[in-house]
Symmetry: D2
Subunit: 354 residues, 4 copies
């Protein structure tokens, strides 16, 4: 096979690094960046895989990504213009400062910089935060909410997958102030890739296939992130019950959101107007049922608004691909904004259906 | 292969007929009845398959069910002691009367006799009811609610799959009167066998696999059935939002129920006491997350009660196999009660895991 | 949402039509062509869906394909430069002539022009052929075999999915004449999308999921197509046993090929040399096991060569995405060749993994 | 929930122990033995889980198995009449002797006693054998081949899953001596539970789902086991190419077997006669295609014989549930034979379909 990389003009490109490229968000970043016309993949680190070719680990990248994994200790990340952290929680907060000091912009796909309340973060994540000042400086990378701040940000806290689907779904309602924010319910279902590429028994094929269950009902780490976001929009604390479930699909999140109406609105119109100018949020016609596969492998959130039997409960259905709009795609979208590229650059993949 | 039927004593057995045995509830009835020590499978009808062996259509039954499909027009159903209708809606209401008049007991697995309000039934099912008087006479076959009436019933309306999971999950709360019945939410997920064995595009493997979606948000036929049941327990109309979803599993329903607490209770204890004597309802320890596979192919409903962060919203997780406790198994349980057998007879299959 | 079509320069583009766009090869053509820089989607026909928007049927195309389905009777297909037939067998042979006469190039994704022996075709496909002369004129569109003829072809018989995977896998061995061509075995496994988007019971999720089976062992229509291709390469009739299987994946074919060695060779090297210049055939390192997901949604065939325990049986593993290299992608590759475009244009999607 | 164990007569029962009950063959033994009328589950060991209830780990067994895991060091296994080893390879060979000396019968579901040639075993399994004399004494537990020896055996080497499906499929042909035994091909596909309940990346849901691949083509440990079996039947060494594949189903093996005919026979009749008296081998009518789901959760092997286009290659399709006829079910069948029970006792589960 001859290689078929995207033809790129070297001069215009920015150098990109990835820390921790062996997980699902890492390989998804590679898939997207390999097709991005303005980036040059320069460095990817993995302690365990240092020296081996990325395409040996992920044969889907053969002929498209020629890079080898570098040892994190010696990788020249400072020579990049932007570095993505696709690492477990707690890594980026240790390493971001030196990169930022070297003038590198940083996008963290983990949770290190998402929660502004340090004590709250430490309670949910079970560790002491290494860089509280960076949390204060970081911008929460949800473009539909923070586009202007993202453009000038040097450190991005890329949102979690559930928080992206849930916040985009509730956003217009809470901005409009027309529902009871004391009793919001987010019943969310995630594909198994959301659990990461970790050797754990409960996400084995023979455990997770042909099976459906809730988990973390007592409390999931995305709860404080969603609450912070919605409370910020609302201006006061919201009451939210968040129940995540595991569904046997590889990619995809389906959030089913319930809210009690406190003031009449044309809800369909409210959503359509709010997202009219957004390139990656698609409000479906009334009575639609968005499917997770309609966004598979693409950077888009599709949603539909229902008011069953004209009652006082509103139901919002919101779907994303957890690895794209819920992680790597949104990270590239943030990068595009930070570097003044067209926001859609490298993100024009059509969803894969069937 | 030599055949290996369950050894049965002919004398004690009752003759059983099945109308419409080519769908999933039909083949599941065959699986269960083939292992039931007190029943003799006498007749199974199918217009399309008349004359062909049941085991040719379902090779899983080879060596276990020797029966052939009979033409419904000539099948000697009156010679049975009990006839199950595993037919589309609208069939049993046409045929039950003559069987009942002949002294045959009837268990309808479809919806013909479930809704007491005939006008409401006609609105949701889009046809004129052929036997309103039989609706009045029928007993709704949820043993945990109506065990005594079932024992003496001649006509059973076997509950729907979603209604079984949702009603069993809400039952203790509503009986105890400790939640706001104006704002109940049932977010339910069903395996694809729940859609039946029909050649329809949307349930093809290549459509439904690796995909998750809601459907029927505007209104699903199981909504009035659940409302009737819960209102009956409550003594006044309940406000319920019911959102069904399709999840890519073959069998299983997972209902996630939300209710706002209006009076403090020891909820775990409330559930354990309510179901202590029930052979087919299993209340898991606090903080559990029941999986659909833990009930796969078995006649049991498992449930768990959560109160996230000690707030005022209660979350109940309830799982069944839609084809067993949600259909054929519950039908056999009802038959056992009607004929004075041990309620568990023929229903002692251990769930298949993994 | 604002639309985000690929920016295209109108002047350079060719007008493209699709006949029968509601099946899986149709929607896959749409996905690929929507991203192709040199094509303008002009017409897509469907009798059943005439007038409705393509994106209403396939929400994955919202914001990307603005076209509506046209009635085949009145659709201006003659105004296109190329028309793809994504129709059932027997349609293209009726309609291709008038298009060809109007100067339109035609690529048939069905089987109408694949088999040169008309009597053989009529036996396997159970109909009288309507255009035997066009069969003679058609070029079999396997670029790795017929690249030069494809460049000047006006009518392309796009290969079947199994035949693509099997022929590419056997090709170097048969060209080299180093195996016993009297006893070739192709044990092939296909994802369920290969059966098409038809409402048939046996491909329902609840039938095909968590299940594996062979089918068509007595004889599958792709057998004469593969035999014709291999015999053509060999110069004499080959003996081939072909057993297709259905595996519960959406996309993908895995062909496991067995051949008895008659002359020693460096087989790894033989394959690497044969495909060194091919943009869409990837010979993996020795001892590899290609996975179907490594080609998911991409136009590539990956293969590996094994000689277990140094014995005299060679095992070749060959994988493709049946909807891409096995159908729509190969059709676009053929179109690129026919119109003098870069062969890879619009086909640079990176496989979607996980 | 009240418990619903199978009613058993204590007096007649034998005490059963399981070493290593936390894997899939362990839980499957528990499922089957919980329904067996003549066994009392006495001891189950697990170092990691000692003290915890079996039903806490496998909620499917709640109300059916009351046992707790015991520490292997102190578990009273000698008080059992039979002990099953559901352990990794290399455990039973260390522990079987003391149990045998104490008069306990032993059934090893791992590979320790399967290969008679100790050097060959050590080469494939990469360890020194601890008890070569026990290998000599052990009986290979394939009842269709060794029923008489099994009845009087004290130590059973329970066959591997692939070897069961492949040997039963080839058996009649090789006994009849009508195919070329120098060039046999077994193309086998296994569900993911065959890889065990181990936390390994390659069998994660997000890796193994919607994916198909071959593995171990260079050499799989079941190859020498199958070769030993077939060579034993043949009376001389057979040439076999064995290629295992991973298919995204939980349970099930589908073996597709190819052999070149050397002498004419009525092959359908040959198979039907060979297995006429076997309770757990089902020869389907000619032209059938057995599905893995037709044996799901049941102790049966179904097979079909094909001769495509009347050529000289015979194709045999053989399916089993790898956890039942390929492991735990066959072990119980062996136990029944060893203790003089009806061979089918506790094994009359009807396959679960859909």
């Amino acid at each position: 096979m001859i290689d078929t990389p995207v033809t790129k003009e070297q001069a215009a490109m920015i150098k990109v690094g990835i820390v921790g490229g062996t997980g699902y968000t890492g390989v998804e970043l590679l898939r997207l960046l390999a097709q991005h016309p303005e980036t040059e993949l320069s460095v990817i680190t993995s302690r365990a895989e240092a020296g081996s070719a990325v395409a040996d680990m992920f044969p889907s990248l053969r002929g498209r990504v020629a890079l080898r994994f570098s040892d994190p200790a010696t990788a020249p990340l400072e020579e990049c213009q932007v570095v993505f952290f696709a690492t477990p929680n707690g890594v980026a907060m240790q390493q971001a400062r030196s990169l930022l000091d070297a003038g590198v912009r940083v996008i963290d796909l983990a949770a290190d910089f998402r929660i502004k309340d340090i004590a709250l973060w430490e309670k949910w994540y079970g560790m002491t935060h290494a860089a509280p000042d960076l949390v204060a400086a970081a911008v929460y990378g949800l473009p539909e909410l923070n586009r202007q701040q993202i453009k000038s940000a040097r450190l991005i806290a890329n949102p979690g997958c559930y928080p992206t689907a849930v916040q985009l779904g509730f956003l217009p309602l809470i901005e409009a102030g027309c529902v009871d924010t004391d009793f919001l319910i987010a019943d969310a279902k995630s594909g198994v890739s959301g659990a990461g590429r970790k050797a754990e028994t409960h996400i084995l094929f023979a455990e997770a296939s042909d099976n459906f269950k809730a988990y973390g009902v007592a409390g999931h780490r995305h709860l404080p992130e969603i609450r912070q976001g919605l409370s910020g929009i609302s201006g006061s604390p919201v009451g939210l019950t968040f129940v995540p479930h595991l569904t046997p699909i590889i990619r995809g999140i389906h959030a089913t959101l319930y809210a009690r109406i406190t003031r009449e609105e044309d809800f369909q119109s409210l959503y359509e107007k709010r997202y009219a100018a957004e390139p990656f949020v698609d409000v479906l016609p009334a009575k639609s049922h968005p499917e997770t596969r309609s966004v598979r492998a693409a950077n888009v959130c599709r949603m539909a608004i229902h008011r069953p039997q004209g009652g006082d409960t509103l139901v919002v259905l919101s779907v994303i691909d957890n690895l794209v709009k819920g992680a790597a795609g949104q990270a590239v979208q943030n990068m595009n904004l930070m570097f003044g590229f067209d926001e859609c650059l490298g993100l024009s993949q059509v969803p894969v259906l069937p």
